[in-house]
């Protein structure tokens, strides 16, 4: 244990520790990167609320797609719903919107949609497997797919108009 060893070891440990901690600053520890970005979106065919029609994801190839996972027991979902509905109506024909409801009762979903409007199919996720396949950690989460069915972006939390449009542009161009 002599002077040089202590100095070198001490300074090395200090620098290493401080640099590592500093890199963590400014990042959101709750945010999880999605490994699906850049990969084909997992395929599914689920029942739509109300019509009970089976809607297959592959049906929407050729157009950018916004897939929004939500539930009636999720408060922030109430906030983002009008944003999604209005944008869906605006972009009808250019971009397809889909809602996937997770762990919920059909009556409640139907009631929610009746009350707050609906502009696109809302599908019921059987046993939550679709959510798991997409790596959904909580609701709401929104996925953006391009016309070839590849995932280009994922957003966690209630979405606002600007972010929504930003990501749609990404889906259209990538």
């Amino acid at each position: 244990m002599n002077k040089v060893v202590i100095l070198v070891a001490g300074v090395a440990i200090t620098l290493a520790l401080v640099i590592i901690l500093a890199t963590g600053l400014g990042k959101d520890p709750q945010h999880i990167e999605s490994p699906l970005i850049g990969k084909p979106a997992p395929d599914f065919a689920l029942q739509a609320v109300g019509t009970h029609e089976t809607v297959d994801l592959s049906r929407f190839r050729g157009k950018p797609l916004v897939v929004n996972f939500w539930a009636t027991w999720c408060r922030p979902c109430y906030e983002e719903h009008p944003v999604l509905v209005s944008n869906a109506q605006l972009l009808q024909g250019q971009v397809q919107f889909l809602g996937v409801v997770f762990q919920d009762k059909e009556e409640k979903i139907q009631g929610f949609l009746n009350e707050r409007g609906s502009a696109y199919p809302t599908l019921v996720d059987q046993a939550g497997k679709t959510a798991i396949a997409y790596g959904v950690g909580g609701v709401p989460e929104t996925f953006f797919l391009n016309k070839d069915g590849k995932v280009v972006a994922k957003f966690e939390g209630p979405i606002d108009p600007d972010t929504l449009q930003q990501n749609i542009r990404k889906a259209m161009t990538q």
Partner: protein
């Protein structure tokens, strides 16, 4: 009015602590007694100002003065008074003010108790303490100010986080934690001062040891309270999740424990000085790291305060103190280590060294595991997790070896032991090992690690009890009256020794109880309708129905259960509940626990709808032992700490080894060497 008063007090404390720090270092450098006197005055002034600021904040909280920023943030008229009082530390800004308050108390106490001693380096110590005080005053004054003025004060506020209102431990755990954490500043000041003076003799040991022991006791109990609180409140039935902030509280505890042991070798043998000083420095540095981890928003943790801009500031302070400590240690190392006489591995000193290394390894492992996700994200941009399975696999072997050392170390004599001595000391406790392992086996323990832990625990228990009562036995053999022997040996002269062995006894129980409670646990989800019963492990749980309870700040729905065994009458009644707080959207569950000596019966609600409940039944053996054994450790620490002064006219002048300095404070005899104020 109050916000301005608070800000003024904080600014004054920043001024006073800065001047005091500079004064302290200057007085130490110049060896000026007047400078020291003034540094002391500034130290007391700092303490007074911090206390005043804290009282002003409490006053604002209790009178619901919503013009104060912090009160607007956490105050509420609907919560009980005790919640209002403890909301001082429920959120970030208030908690730093609380840190400053505790720091002031410690500095004042340390300055007062050393008023006639260590005149040559006290100034440096005070300077160091006030340097830390200045930093925290700065935090309270600027980036994390609780005394902001609110332009249009609301009529009511949201109250503190409901998770913090669920249990009375909210009033006890944080103060204990702060008393433990903040207290590490004091021995750091002593160590820094001694290094600066280039003197690490025996005179320095007593204040170092005492100032290390006091926060150690608080921190030990605080960590246990944290675990107990998580257990009672969170509903998953566990007490330790290796959460980054939990780890942050454990790291300084590990180094402080190692430092206490290392200081013992320093006292008896004069060696391991570099180790001791480094460990003391590390204990303080780790508390600053811990504060960074909790408040910077860098770590994903249950305990994290909301993201705030004080992260970078704390990091800068940490860097400065870290570099300063490294430089100081490097340039003074020559005046420390010179007489490392190690008689070989089969000696008590050898085992102390191994002990040090194990604690450092433990600390390193927990630290690496906690920051590793950050490292990977910095290097590879990918996110990964290091969770419970990792820590459990790493820590269990280390813990087992530590338990082994706890048994073998105290059994060995100081100095080189002959084969005969070693055999005489090390073989008999094997009986204890066999007995405890056998008891475990009969109770159903089959896990290999648990059985090993039980064996080591039995070994250590026998050694500890043997050593604890050795002086009493010797005195009885001489012919002393048993009662007098006990009182004198354990409660008077031998208090430090007795206290230390009490701590060890507690530690053995804790480690064994952790091993058993983790591996012998049963957990099952049970769905029941009103009136139905289910059986788990021979215990019958009957769901009686629900009950509503309304309080001003929350509404609770209780699920009532009767527990019986076999076909007998119910012997316990549990009522886990779901609480709906006015301030929160989703309900929060609270479990209910029935504790017996054998283990706990723990119920928490997973789902409650009308007359149907899904309840989580968790049966954990021996978990209650952990809390009580840690309290035993704390009690042992207090016993060891109380100084002993011999009554007047004492016929046999026994050496004072329990910490009280006689009038000529510098002379403490160590085995043939008489060192006077070195």
């Amino acid at each position: 009015m109050i916000p301005s008063l608070g800000r003024l007090l904080v600014l004054l404390s920043l001024l006073v602590s800065t001047i005091g720090a500079v004064l302290g270092y200057a007085a130490g450098w110049k060896q000026s007694p007047d400078g020291l006197k003034w540094a002391r005055r500034f130290a007391f002034a700092f303490a007074a100002l911090m206390a005043a600021a804290t009282f002003v904040m409490e006053y604002a909280l209790i009178t619901h003065d919503f013009s104060v920023g912090y009160v607007e943030h956490v105050g509420s008229r609907d919560v009980p008074l005790w919640v209002t009082i403890v909301s001082l530390w429920s959120s970030l800004e208030g908690s730093i003010l609380f840190w400053g308050f505790i720091l002031g108390i410690y500095i004042a106490a340390a300055t007062w108790l050393t008023r006639n001693e260590h005149l040559d380096y006290m100034a440096y110590a005070i300077g160091t303490w006030l340097f830390s005080g200045a930093f925290f005053s700065y935090l309270i004054a600027a980036p994390a100010s609780p005394f902001q003025t609110v332009a249009n004060p609301p009529l009511d506020g949201p109250g503190p986080n409901p998770l913090l209102q669920n249990h009375v431990l909210m009033a006890i755990h944080p103060p204990f934690l702060y008393l433990g954490y903040v207290g590490m500043t004091i021995p750091f000041g002593f160590a820094t001062a001694a290094l600066m003076r280039g003197r690490l003799g025996q005179a320095f040991l007593r204040p170092l040891r005492n100032s290390l022991m006091v926060p150690w006791i608080f921190l030990t109990i605080a960590i246990m309270l944290g675990g107990w609180w998580a257990y009672e409140v969170l509903g998953w039935g566990g007490y330790w999740a290796w959460d980054p902030v939990e780890n942050a509280s454990l790291l300084p505890w590990l180094t402080a424990t190692a430092a206490l042991h290392s200081a013992l070798v320093m006292e008896r043998r004069g060696s391991l000085k570099g180790w001791t000083v480094t460990l003391v420095q590390a204990s303080f540095l780790l508390t600053i790291l811990g504060t960074f981890m909790t408040r910077s928003g860098v770590f994903n943790s249950v305990h994290s305060f909301t993201q705030s801009p004080i992260g970078p500031t704390i990091l800068v302070f940490l860097t400065v103190v870290l570099i300063g400590s490294v430089l100081l240690l490097a340039f003074r190392i020559d005046s420390l280590e010179s007489d490392s006489r190690f008689e070989g591995p089969l000696s008590r000193e050898g085992f102390f060294l191994i002990n040090n290394l194990l604690f450092v390894l433990f600390t390193f492992t927990v630290l690496i595991g906690t920051v590793f996700p950050l490292i990977v994200e910095a290097l590879r941009g990918k996110q990964m997790s290091v969770g419970r399975p990792y820590f459990d696999s790493m820590v269990v072997p280390i813990g087992a070896v530590l338990l082994f050392i706890l048994g073998v170390g105290p059994a060995l004599p100081w100095g080189r032991a002959t084969k005969e001595q070693a055999k005489k000391a090390l073989l008999p406790p094997l009986i204890g090992a066999a007995i405890v392992a056998a008891i475990g086996f009969t109770f159903g323990v089959r896990n290999a690690w648990t059985l090993v832990t039980l064996a080591f625990g039995g070994y250590a228990a026998q050694v500890t009890l043997g050593q604890m009562w050795l002086p009493v036995i010797q005195r009885i053999r001489r012919g002393d009256n048993a009662g007098a022997a006990i009182i004198d040996s354990q409660l008077k002269r031998g208090r430090r020794r007795f206290g230390s062995y009490l701590i060890h006894a507690g530690a053995v129980i804790v480690i064994v109880a952790i091993a058993v409670s983790s591996t012998m646990r049963t957990q099952q989800e049970v769905p029941l309708r009103k009136g139905e019963s289910a059986t788990v492990n021979g215990l019958t749980f009957k769901f009686l129905g629900t009950e509503e309870r309304t309080e001003p700040h929350r509404t609770s729905t209780l699920a009532l259960f009767d527990i019986s065994k076999g076909g007998g009458p119910p012997f316990a009644h549990l009522a886990p509940r779901m609480n709906q707080y006015a301030a929160m959207r989703d309900p929060l569950g609270t479990p209910d626990v029935h504790t017996t000596i054998g283990g706990d019966i723990y119920l928490s609600i997973m789902n409650l709808q009308g007359d149907s409940v899904v309840v989580n039944v968790i049966l954990t053996p021996m978990v209650g032992w952990i809390w009580w054994a840690v309290l035993l450790m704390g009690f042992g620490g207090i016993v060891a700490l109380i100084p002993f002064s011999p009554p007047r006219g004492e016929k046999v002048p026994l050496r004072q080894d329990s910490g009280q300095a006689p009038a000529d404070e510098g002379s403490v005899r160590i085995e043939g060497r008489e060192a006077v104020t070195s």
